[in-house]
Symmetry: C2
Subunit: 350 residues, 2 copies
DNA sequence: TTGTAGGCGTTATCAC
DNA sequence: GTGATAACGCCTACAA
């Protein structure tokens, strides 16, 4: 009933309409502009007027409409966006947390969306967020061509790419030291006498995968170790495939003396599969994970700090929003070998 | 240069201004309204006109401003909010994922914010989100008085409370079967002959904590087992305190034969502390956690499905948005005992 | 100290 | 089919 000319009044429409500044102004007997001044804590308002307005606000339950505000003010939505693959994955949720902390510091809200590793959906999400006028966007890209962002980039919207660089686009990027981390792992295993080091990896065409496997090849080559391709299993992001690969490896006439896994999810699947063998190969995994230190053989890993990645992305983003014009930067976040036991087993048939 | 009367042109202002429908209209030689029609896929537009407009849109890099759109359309921001304690906690990130899936289904965006268990911050976030005109809000409450939401609730904004009910407010709520789950755990331990069952818990004044410890007391009472208060340790959400409590318990003249922990974080701390003892008490924890099955003694837990909680919250929220007027509902999500080994150890001094 | 006029970018209404 | 005009709720600029 309170909404003047709405459709036939269904019984569920709200009994109280949302008040506007004009409503508050009417209730307080002042002009709309005075209410605006009070709401925004502007100085030149009589204390008694201010008080009356505050009462009207409280009584009506008025709440400033930030949508209208940001429309008038230009592009100040005070919102940034984050696109990741899956918030339920601890790697991404840590990134989100790091970024949110920074956003909070600058009094910004964060909209998080999951691309589910789908390039098309990523693009839809980017468009939806830009249409909502987020002021900047952090993206863990799933797609392989980001040239569609170039117009938006020229208009001043900052984009920060996380974990993987953009393709066909020049913008700030934060990646792990994928190659260096893998080199650490492989050198570590070599130093314990391993020569047959298997790799169970995800998709080697994805940036992180390509870097990691390149680190493996490089390190073997530098040490003059011939590479046995039968020890390399790809596309094992799925737990089932990783376990299958582990079983295949362990049943080779000459099984590997060590296994390197390129991600935490693969690591866990591999370790699960290894439980059924008495002979335990040495093991090092890329990415740390909860309880790695609590397993029967504590797990040696290449660790890094995803929350730090998120936080750095945020700082770069806000620097850009503040007008920073420094050249596009690529930040490389270091990795760290954490020695726990599984990586220090020696080859039995040395 | 392109912005007419802005302040002195600093070198970093965007070289291209963001085009509006009017710009597109000028470029295409049509009226603004026609552009609007094309953008919104309205039917009565000549195909040739439509084509010209599309070209202008592509050429200028036009993107509809959803802020202006939703201002004009009333309250259709197509955005909902979620307030949790910490997105880096798997319990909450799973909730977020479940909710986001539903939001996605209805073509809504999700804004996630972390209250950090701070009632004041929770309230600030609620206000910020409502000012941004989210159409509904899911909250894992940190505060202890939500009457401040009643005006907003009357205006039709749906609020769904997750994991803990609201205080001083009647609205839809989704909680775990905290009491029932704890009863399952304690009965399970009793059935294996345990009579001295310690509890390491968080804050017993928080709703979930209160329900869980009540389930413990209840079950002991029903079985005629006297309750030994020296076996109950509270406020152990911090890992250090949980470990300390474990050590104290294990060094009692007569240590407990079983330990029940009220959350996954506590469980992990307790299990870490237990590693230094040869005698292993039976153990059951509330909440499942990754790798619980991989520990030297696989961990028996009371499991549940946080993503399902998030999804259900979402469905109720969207039902409310669609006008559902059914009475306020409290949904109780069931828990499940997962038997893995640690809960099936028998008391040694039986 | 307070108020008026105009516009932010879009959609709704109604005329052509 | 297409276009002028008036909102949406707020803020900026300027006037009183």
């Amino acid at each position: 009933m309170s909404t003047p000319a709405s459709s036939i009044n269904e019984s569920n429409d709200p009994p109280f309409a949302r008040p506007t500044m004009q409503d508050v102004a009417n209730a307080a007997g002042v002009s709309l502009k005075t209410v605006s001044r009070v709401v925004n804590n502007e100085p030149r308002v009589d204390d008694r007027t201010r008080e009356r307005v505050h009462q009207a606000i409280a009584q009506l339950g008025f709440r400033r409409n930030d949508i209208a505000r940001s429309l008038r003010q230009g592009q100040a939505s005070s919102t940034i966006g984050l696109i990741i693959e899956d918030i339920a994955n601890p790697f991404y949720s840590s990134i989100a947390r790091g970024l949110e902390r920074v956003a909070q510091k600058y009094n910004y809200m964060l909209i998080i969306s999951n691309s589910e590793e789908n390039a098309l959906r990523e693009r839809e999400l980017v468009n939806a967020l830009l249409s909502r006028r987020v002021e900047g966007l952090c993206i863990v890209p799933a797609g392989s061509d980001h040239s569609y962002l170039s117009a938006e980039l020229r208009m001043g919207t900052p984009f920060i790419f996380l974990d993987r660089p953009p393709m066909q686009l020049q913008t700030d990027t934060i990646v792990l030291d994928n190659r260096g981390g893998t080199r650490q792992a492989i050198k570590h295993l070599l130093s314990y006498g391993h020569r047959r080091i298997a790799v169970i990896q995800g998709d080697p065409r994805v940036y992180t995968g390509a870097e990691r496997i390149a680190g493996y090849y490089e390190t073997l080559a530098e040490h003059g170790i011939p590479c046995d391709e039968t020890l390399i299993y790809s596309n094992c992001d799925d737990a089932r495939q990783a376990q299958q690969a582990t079983h295949t490896l362990m049943n080779l006439p000459q099984p590997p003396s060590a296994i390197f896994s390129t991600s935490n999810r693969i690591s866990i699947a591999v370790l699960r599969a290894l439980r059924s063998y008495t002979f335990q190969p040495a093991f090092v995994g890329f990415d740390d994970f909860d309880l790695a230190d609590m397993l029967p053989v504590p797990v040696t890993v290449i660790a890094h700090d995803p929350a730090e990645m998120g936080a750095r992305a945020g700082e770069i983003l806000f620097a850009r929003l503040a007008g920073s014009n420094v050249p596009v930067q690529q930040t490389i976040v270091p990795t760290q070998l954490i020695v726990r036991g599984s990586g220090e087993l020696r080859p039995s048939q040395a």
